[in-house]
Subunit: 318 residues, 4 copies
Amino acid sequence: MKIGIFTSGGDAAGMNPAIKAFVELAIENSFEPYFIYDGLEGLIDGKIEKADFHMVAGILHRGGTILRSSRSKRFYDKKYRQKAFDNLEKHGIERLIVLGGDGSFRAMDVFYKEFGINFAGIPVTIDNDIYGTDYCLGVDTALNVIRHLLDNIRDTASSFGRAFVVETMGRSCGYLAIVSAIASGAEICIAPELEVDFEGIKKRLKREIENGRTYILAVVGEGSNMTETVRDFLLNELKFDTRVTVLGHVQRGGNPTIFDRLMAYKFVECAIEHIKENIHHMVGFKNSKFYLIDIDSVANNKYKLDDFLIKLAQTKAV
Amino acid sequence: MKIGIFTSGGDAAGMNPAIKAFVELAIENSFEPYFIYDGLEGLIDGKIEKADFHMVAGILHRGGTILRSSRSKRFYDKKYRQKAFDNLEKHGIERLIVLGGDGSFRAMDVFYKEFGINFAGIPVTIDNDIYGTDYCLGVDTALNVIRHLLDNIRDTASSFGRAFVVETMGRSCGYLAIVSAIASGAEICIAPELEVDFEGIKKRLKREIENGRTYILAVVGEGSNMTETVRDFLLNELKFDTRVTVLGHVQRGGNPTIFDRLMAYKFVECAIEHIKENIHHMVGFKNSKFYLIDIDSVANNKYKLDDFLIKLAQTKAV
Amino acid sequence: MKIGIFTSGGDAAGMNPAIKAFVELAIENSFEPYFIYDGLEGLIDGKIEKADFHMVAGILHRGGTILRSSRSKRFYDKKYRQKAFDNLEKHGIERLIVLGGDGSFRAMDVFYKEFGINFAGIPVTIDNDIYGTDYCLGVDTALNVIRHLLDNIRDTASSFGRAFVVETMGRSCGYLAIVSAIASGAEICIAPELEVDFEGIKKRLKREIENGRTYILAVVGEGSNMTETVRDFLLNELKFDTRVTVLGHVQRGGNPTIFDRLMAYKFVECAIEHIKENIHHMVGFKNSKFYLIDIDSVANNKYKLDDFLIKLAQTKAV
Amino acid sequence: MKIGIFTSGGDAAGMNPAIKAFVELAIENSFEPYFIYDGLEGLIDGKIEKADFHMVAGILHRGGTILRSSRSKRFYDKKYRQKAFDNLEKHGIERLIVLGGDGSFRAMDVFYKEFGINFAGIPVTIDNDIYGTDYCLGVDTALNVIRHLLDNIRDTASSFGRAFVVETMGRSCGYLAIVSAIASGAEICIAPELEVDFEGIKKRLKREIENGRTYILAVVGEGSNMTETVRDFLLNELKFDTRVTVLGHVQRGGNPTIFDRLMAYKFVECAIEHIKENIHHMVGFKNSKFYLIDIDSVANNKYKLDDFLIKLAQTKAV
């Protein structure tokens, strides 16, 4: 049986280790692995190649994806999905593994319903905002990149008696902001999941300033749209020389951490284990276990952050 | 209620984040936090000080422990345990939190039985070899330090067509070697838990060399005592220019990863939650949950590596 | 003879190694070292303390400055300079060493002319824009921080076929942008020192795109004020999905590199060597040598970038 | 004119940036660049390929060398040098650029004298031990790798009140040990260039221990062969719990620093500038300038360490 793999949607570390695991596990289980380059665009254009061990040598520590990725508007058009299907049929590829976000999974679900191509989706996004899984590939690497940057910023904040507002990615999900703030001991955390009380923050920090606090580190999730508000607050209410840093795309990249490398392997292993079945699911990770969840459930539910994290971070928003 | 904390035994990242969490959670829960410096030696010598927020500012990203650690022979002697107890009584400290290994927990258990001092042990060691917990603080940081070093070595191995034998720490436990080998895609993994078949390895690698392999990376856990054997094997049987690198103490240190910082918080939170009870246990982490386990169970059972990891690494030992 | 040291102005790595070198070299040469905290503000407020070896233990690898820094408006007022002088006289401090930028040196020069306090300035700024020295402390560390971030961004740019516009610091000096662009192989470099020809860039990159180029990395120095222009150009003229990242304050901090640690030592050594003389100069580094240059020359001339660098970077602006 | 490049001898960072600069500068100057793989072995076996821009995309941040390297015994034999020459003639390659150590340059000099093939050698070795140049490519990267490891070790040394003996590479040259020890503030430095006085060290450290010193970091260059001696000294004379770490090959690899990337460019630029001449020299870097030096001078003289460094480090050996 021939299985194709492609990467789709936003960039995150862990894709290359997953691609390597795919080739190794496919061959070990007597499947024939195929690469599809440039995501859904490449599927439409037939950028398909038989994969082997050589093609995945030395890629474990590289950020990004050797298969390249894309966002495809054409795939919304049935005409192009037909082309995609024709390409798969030409190569005899019967199954697909998709590394990407829930948007990509939904597109594949439509494709499955039309053409019967089975697939397994593996959640990859630094936003960690996909329903049905506690963990998305790339998150641990992103968090550790943020950690280094926050450690740097804290050094200078404390040296110069300043306030820093650091905006993290995460779209409407506050996971990155919340975990970074907790793990870096930020004084303020603002995220869509938190109830913000500036009066409370002001009272708390004024007390700390009286007790010797000379600098402030605030972490703000982009989804809250409050970066400027927090800056103005620190400047006007707490009278701090305040700087804003929007971390931006540097959060996405880099050498995958051990955790992301191991999780990449396990996600792919679960996908390969079930790939012969009538599969059109995402591989999820819940309570330390990998399992399959149908795409409708993934698409129609909203990821909810761990209560423990919210409780912990909430103390930094009041 | 006054609670003391000290660090004991081997060095590992995550101690400072745990100490910071301790001070914050103790105060939040209306306990009085105390620092005991230099481990059990400091307990005997009365190096005890009331702790406050200022003392834990800016320590999250530092390796080592601001409380310093030690190994104490004197504590085996009842006379010195009496001194230790007298010191605690003088300060009115009723509970202890111990960051260390199972040896330290056993010492505390004896102390508890003699003097009734309740305590919670938090497992900290890069060896990840303590029964009753899937995770010991410091392991993720150690693994990521090893990852960087293996990535460096692989670059030069592939450039120079060499074989490298890299020895990791871990004492009699192969966790570090096994996870590093898997996550770094090493060709050979040797660890106490694995059955090694050099004939099998030879056959496998000869086939790969015929198919174009030009270098070899072998990861060997120190507990297997086979570093030299593997070197000789690569040199004599596979005719590779072979170098040995013993990673040594650089594995222990450094800026704690996000995972170790979060786990530090959660371990301490569980300890604080139960600290008022008749506690003389270790905090363990099993199946995504924190719980208490008595010291006898910890001391009398041997940690067993995850079958998944052994299965995966076993393919690198034959 | 008593010598004081303080840090002033913007933040950059290398201050702590310089402070450590100061204490060691002062004592070795039979001077008495003093710390002045919080820059010129602390000089006014008398935050002065005798320094010893213990106070500089374990600081080599910390970003920021243990002496803290500030910008002082009060020091423009003679009344406060008188207070500063009185504080020095009270402690018997006859000489000062100032780690900072040319603004701080000019302030000290005024102070010298009024009160006769000799001083040596050591140039510290990541902007590398001070006349009279080829190198300012902190630059190498900043460049290596930027390198890591650009390496990350390039990985994802190449995976996703995107254009990235990365804005570096540097104020009106393009040094950081130019060296980063050269050392990271950026396709476009925009800086105040360069003549930009968008038509030329367009022609060059169109040709490269025809030859297979799939992504673009543009480095823009903040002083050029062209970040948005470059974004629009890439989006509209070259039709690339384009992202902007403003690196911000993460460039300033972090563990000083070997080069900054060594240079810190050498700058301080030169200052100490001449500190007994009638000194009111900056220590400069020119053609591999350290020397003294008077503050008027520093203040009244503009730093000029190395022709080699401009020539090299200019090819990335046309 | 066709110019070939190959990498030879020991591994060091900076080779890939030099290879990239070579392709770009060759094309810019209307030469035709050729790659020779596997060093002198590949020259003998005719592993030669025309180079273009695509082949050097995305290699700036990779350790090792994409051209691979080797040590060649066959090249000592005239028969194989004839083969090498025939290969060059077949491709019409008239000039060579060699990235490697003095051994490789001497081999090329013999080849030049026999066959008239002009060449430029670029010094690449982390040992920094080649006469005629103040700097060899790879040294800055190696030093910064060592810095991170020493920073880690110092954290744990200070936490656990231990002594650490860290052995660096460098063969008979103490450059790495000396600069690392200075830049990391090691208490002891042992290197071939230093006069060691254990009685002096003992007296000095005993005084410091009385004043509160609780740990010791000793950096030992491998060329001194004194790692075990220092260990025994710290254990027996100063009664410290002492650990030895031999850093080994991890020093060689990794992402090249900014300094190594820039220097790579400048070394290659000087080589290309003179490549049309009757060149059979090494490119050296002296007093901030690049120049050519004949191979006999390189081969027959011994590199001498900077007096400043020796003076500075000598205080750590007595």
